[in-house]
């Protein structure tokens, strides 16, 4: 170990107050003589402070209700999730005309989201941007078609005077199966919650490519923005109860964007 290395590690030990009195005297003498050593100590303090600090978007999360709910939930595999009713496919076709967001320009960079219970002053501009990622890992804006083998990648926009705080992204395929992109829902007996999102963000990336087992045919991608965290099981219960008609959300401060796309077996 070089003398230089010893000095660097000694500075961390000094920061941690993990040195003997004689080492302390030696290091403090070194700090008095060396501008570079003083700068390095400040950098270490800066790193320590950054790692000790709060992460604003996570501070308001309360996991206790979700843990209670998941602890009570019966064990069941998280996928595939299907609607129980034979009306599912009929509902899927009908809701394309019912859902508020379908009337909005599809895949515009952003759109105006206003759920029925929001006051006019609480306008919010929010939406997602969707990219399909093929075998060459080259993200392309999602068009009308998506290959079964494609992964999906998302970014979101969350602007306005009263932006949202949480987001869920899921899809409902031709079999009526609900697939989750954000949050991840991969383990039985769990009940993940919405992911926190940044207020005032424009096209903020969710930097994961996610592959799901999608059936060929029509697919709806849903982006559920909300003021409080929602949970996978309550959203799935709502989808199942309504047979895919998502036009009347039960969450007062939530808004849903749906993006229709066709899943094909070969790359479009």
């Amino acid at each position: 170990m070089s003398a230089r290395k010893v000095d660097r590690l000694a500075l961390v030990a000094y920061l941690e107050d993990e040195i003997t009195p004689s080492e302390q005297a030696r290091i403090e003498a070194h700090l008095r003589d060396s501008t570079e050593a003083r700068r390095e100590l400040l950098q270490l303090q800066d790193i320590r402070d950054a790692l000790s600090g709060a992460i604003p978007e996570l501070e308001s999360i309360d996991l206790a209700p979700a843990v209670r709910r998941a602890a009570r939930a019966p064990y069941a595999p998280p996928a595939p999730r299907r609607w129980a009713s034979p009306m599912a496919l009929a509902g899927l076709a009908a809701c394309a005309a019912i859902v508020l967001w379908v009337a909005l320009p599809e895949r515009a960079p952003e759109f105006r989201a206003r759920s029925v219970s929001l006051q006019p002053r609480r306008e919010q501009w929010a939406g997602i941007q969707v990219y399909r990622v093929g075998p060459h890992n080259d993200p392309q804006r999602l068009g009308d078609h998506l290959a079964q083998s494609d992964g999906l990648l998302f970014s979101y926009t969350n602007l306005g005077a009263h932006p949202f705080a949480y987001l869920m992204i899921f899809s409902i395929d031709a079999r009526g199966a609900v697939r989750w992109y954000h949050p991840a829902y991969e383990r039985e007996g769990t009940d993940p919650s919405s992911i926190p999102i940044e207020r005032g963000a424009a096209q903020a990336p969710l930097a994961e490519v996610i592959h799901q087992d999608l059936a060929p045919g029509p697919l709806r991608i849903g982006a559920l923005f909300s003021a409080r965290p929602l949970h996978v099981l309550e959203v799935e219960a709502f989808v199942q109860e309504r047979h895919g008609d998502l036009s009347d959300l039960p969450w007062p401060d939530a808004a849903l964007e749906t993006i229709p796309v066709e899943v094909v077996s070969r790359s479009p």
């Binding site: 660097r8 590690l9 961390v12 030990a13 920061l15 941690e16 993990e18 390095e40 950098q43 270490l44 800066d46 790193i47 320590r48 950054a50 790692l51 000790s52 709060a54 992460i55 978007e57 996570l58 501070e59 999360i61 309360d62 996991l63 206790a64 979700a66 843990v67 998941a70 602890a71 990219y131 990622v133 890992n137 993200p139 990648l153 970014s155 954000h182 949050p183 991840a184 991969e186 383990r187 769990t190 009940d191 993940p192 919650s193 992911i195 926190p196 999102i197 940044e198 005032g200 963000a201 424009a202 096209q203 903020a204 990336p205 969710l206 930097a207 994961e208 490519v209 996610i210 592959h211």
Partner: protein
Amino acid sequence: MSDTGARLTLVQPGAPAPQGKALAAHDDDELMLLARANVEGAFDVLVHRHQRRLLRVAARYLGRHGAAADVVQNTFLEIYRARARYQCRGRFQAYLYRVLLNECRMALRSVRRQRQETAIPADTVGLGESQILMRERQREVEAALGQLSEKLREVVLLRYSADLAYDEIAQVLGVPLGTVKRRLFDGMDKLRRNLGES
């Protein structure tokens, strides 16, 4: 051990919170015993007591804030389900963070969800300048943290984001105290150099 065991015998399954002492006044081991006896609200107190620091560790370990809540929820769920087997030795924090690190490692190694940090073309990413400035420093440090080996990253996070003492970190990781110090000192030095500040 015998002291906390004696307390357990006073708690009836499904009983309301014990009178004369608020749940929040109980230590972690006592709360686990109360949760084992299905005392309402006991486990909630544990969640509220520890969730902030766990979320910070998970978010920085994974480099994805969005995944942190799920990982921490799974951590608490696993501990809740194992409450009948929990042994009161005054080491709840070590147990909690050991489970958390396992959950983080599993999340990182998940084969179904592939990390791709630069997948969205840069010209389509339009974060506001003020946001970038606000979070820039924190993200720089978190990005540099991702370049550390798992061993160094874990010690640094347990020390600063979880605020654990050296002996607690040694319990979590099952390594000697000297190893904890060496990894911390080395990790911090590498972090500083990774940030291009040497």
